[in-house]
């Protein structure tokens, strides 16, 4: 690989993968929790929360990035508090890029998991209950395995979307080589420098290959999961 890619390209690729993987895995538990609440529970203000949780999908990513900067920048209220109490810094760090990606791609995961949970036949849960399974038992051993294909599909979609995230990352954590310069940011930087057209093309081809690999992976995972759940 090192022969094909330059050090800077490799850096951007690995950073993109790291940011996206962390973003997907950090958002997953929250998406699962929210999906369970929205799919199976009724509570006041449900439609409000439902709407609020899909907001990152419709807001301009730049706005999301700016809001994150306001809240979590080193001088933002939450950012200052996290830094002084826990030493956690999101601003100008790859973890900030992962956070921005996680928030932007959260609705993809939420939607896929929620649909998968709602598709699980309630009659099966009733059957499990008459066989002695309590609520958590039913969720872990019945609902979750049956919703697994949807969960995986959601995670891969979110991962692919995260690889392409630009606006929120550049606004929140800037464009620092080796720290926050993911593939889209590297393409942007190449286009900004004179004679960077070839570099931009190479990075774009890399992005396309990555996207295709993601689609293939999603297909493969879906098939495996379908076989697992007997469909």
């Amino acid at each position: 690989m090192h022969g094909i890619l330059t050090a800077a390209e490799m850096e951007a690729l690995l950073l993109s993968l790291r940011v996206s993987i962390v973003a997907v895995f950090c958002a997953l538990p929250f998406a699962l929790g929210a999906a369970v609440l929205l799919a199976h529970r009724r509570f006041p203000g449900k439609s409000m929360i439902d709407g609020a949780l899909t907001l990152p999908l419709v807001l301009p990513p730049v706005v999301v990035g700016y809001l994150l900067l306001l809240a979590l920048g080193t001088r933002g209220p939450l950012g200052a508090w996290l830094l002084s109490n826990f030493g956690i810094r999101f601003a100008f760090s790859w973890t900030g890029a992962a956070l921005a990606s996680a928030i932007i791609t959260f609705p993809f995961q939420l939607r896929a998991i929620r649909q998968a949970l709602e598709a699980v036949d309630g009659g099966l849960r009733e059957a499990a209950e008459t066989l002695g399974a309590r609520t958590l038992d039913r969720f872990v051993n019945l609902t979750l395995p049956l919703a697994l294909p949807g969960l995986i599909a959601g995670a891969i979609t979110a991962f692919a979307a995260s690889l392409g995230e630009f606006g929120a990352i550049i606004t929140f954590v800037s464009n620092i080589p080796g720290e926050t310069r993911t593939l889209p940011l590297a393409i942007y930087s190449a286009l900004q420098s004179p004679g960077g057209g070839l570099e931009a093309t190479r990075l774009s081809i890399l992005s396309i290959i990555l996207a295709l690999a993601g689609v293939a992976l999603a297909e493969f995972a879906q098939r495996r999961a379908n076989r697992l759940t007997g469909r």
Binding site: T130, L131, G132, A133, R134, L142, T229
Partner: protein, 361 residues
Amino acid sequence: MSVDVALHHDFGGFFLDAQFRVEHKGVTALFGPSGAGKTSIVNAIAGLLKPREGRIAIDGRVVLDTKANIFVPAYARRIGYVFQDARLFPHMNVENNLRFGWRRAPVRCSGEEFAHIVNLLGLEKLLSRQPAKLSGGEKGRVALGRALLASPELLLLDEPLVALDAARKAEILPYLERLRDEARVPMLYVSHSLDEVTRLADHVVLVRQGRVAAQGSVFDLLSDLDFSDRSGAPPYGTVLDAKISAHRDDGLTVLAFPGGELMVGRLARPPGSRLRVRIRAEDVMLACEEPRAISANNVLAATITGLRDGPQTDVQLDCGGAKLVARITRSSAARLGLAPGMRVFAIVKSVTVDPQIGKEI
């Protein structure tokens, strides 16, 4: 041991108001037309539906009492449920489906008993299969086994045959009969098919429009002349408990029942075997004098105990303690001058014999 049920619930205009008892021995049928509230009743018993008012006690163990604010959740009731649509878990093979309830039972049955139930339902060869690869009949048997292996104190069966075609029904019925005769679990069997009820049930609870219209033994209730009024179903006739008394050389088998003997085609069961015999009202003719030179094999002396006029006349007969019903035309009834107390001869044209496996008297 018995299960006492009293329920009262309002489904926005449809009132459920049912009170009955499920006897420990054998099968109690919850019989009635579609939409009578049968499934709601079993859902309430299982704990899947919380009725507005009610009390359910299994051998004194109260699982529901709205007055005392007791509602034992379904997972703790130990009531098995076989659903119409089997509801096997699609991500588990047959064995793991069977073990699902077994693992969670407070008192697990032994490995031997597990093997026995698997064997009883003919599931040995299916254990490693996925539910998606099973036929409808096989799914039904797995669902039955899964519910039984959770060691329930009561087994609810909600029309387990309704989604199956005639051939699949014929495949499962013998297994249900075996279960009735061998398993020590009382069963509440929901059905709108009189055929299934007469074949399987010992007791019948008749449900109409959310209410219990009648209840009693299958032998009494079905030969009751008011039965068709109460059930909305066409009158059935008679269900008798009989046993094989002899195999004759001329190829017939003699069945003994309290009112006498019935001759049927050769049965492949040893003498002494207990059988359930069904005689439809349409298949019984009446004669005031003993007929001679007649092709029918079965002529029984009987006394008329009741008459009921409708489009046709149903005649209830006492035949040595057994109740028979004959359905004849009104003109025949008038011509013969039939009246309660009269001695007549019942000519039985056709007898349906259901095997009861493994029960000897």
